[in-house]
Symmetry: C2
Subunit: 182 residues, 2 copies
Amino acid sequence: MSKKEETKEPEEILEDQEEVVEASVAEEEVPETSEPEKSELDLANERAEDFENKYLRAHAEMQNIQRRANEERQTLQRYRSQDLAKKILPSLDNLERALAVEGLTEDVKKGLEMVQDSLIQALKEEGVTEVSIETFDPNYHMAVQTVPTDDDNPADTIAQVLQKGYQLHDRLLRPAMVVVYS
Amino acid sequence: MSKKEETKEPEEILEDQEEVVEASVAEEEVPETSEPEKSELDLANERAEDFENKYLRAHAEMQNIQRRANEERQTLQRYRSQDLAKKILPSLDNLERALAVEGLTEDVKKGLEMVQDSLIQALKEEGVTEVSIETFDPNYHMAVQTVPTDDDNPADTIAQVLQKGYQLHDRLLRPAMVVVYS
């Protein structure tokens, strides 16, 4: 770009000089002979410049499209398991409930735990993890119940988790349902 | 692989184009001394044509990139659950095995069936279905064992399914393990 601008500058200067020279020599003859040629060249130059600009714009636009497509692809890849993962969470809840039933035989319990472990492992490999419950965070926790604070438990700390929350990388799949001190 | 090669093409074309641009700039500077006015016009016209071609090519390439990005996005969307679905299949196997255990209480059985149903439902909503076992198809079935044919069962028909196969839309996630008559 800058190269081309530099090369054009001297031409423009030359053209200006020619005009001045011709004007001083013979004023009457000037317009007929010089103008047609000059405007043809001007038009060609304009056309060249026009297409150059169009080309540069198209080129820049092409790079933008490619960049955007890459970003979109990365996002799609990163969160690709979101829908299926969300739909699997109730199965995990059901498994937990089944495991909480009294009087399970060792075989059944083992079987259920195997299913649970393999589900959790599959989700983990795809980037799904349990929401942390160390400190109460309204972005990740839904307070569905409160209990009074005491000396050991200040306000806005989590007393109990009623249902686990899950996130896919940084994106929340569902909040944890919690009881908070208040 | 082939997709990756395709996406590299525009870059290669661009590099070529850049070389051409530099070449045309260099040409411009050369002939000025011999035939100044005529060649100046010719060169300007050439330059205009050159950039017009480049612009048209860039424009066409831009549309190609956009089309390819759309196709890729659609494929990514369609098969987005592939990895997670594949990893969930062993959990389904484990559930089936757990349900086959003798002497389950009604509560446990109900719990297991609920988990199983919700998993199958979640997979189905994402396009995952069991591989059909009506007729033996080596693209979808793996014959791991054979039994002798008889009058009712001709060769290459399925005698038993040892492990279910699953597919995501038209794409196989894993083949069904079957016993075939032979």
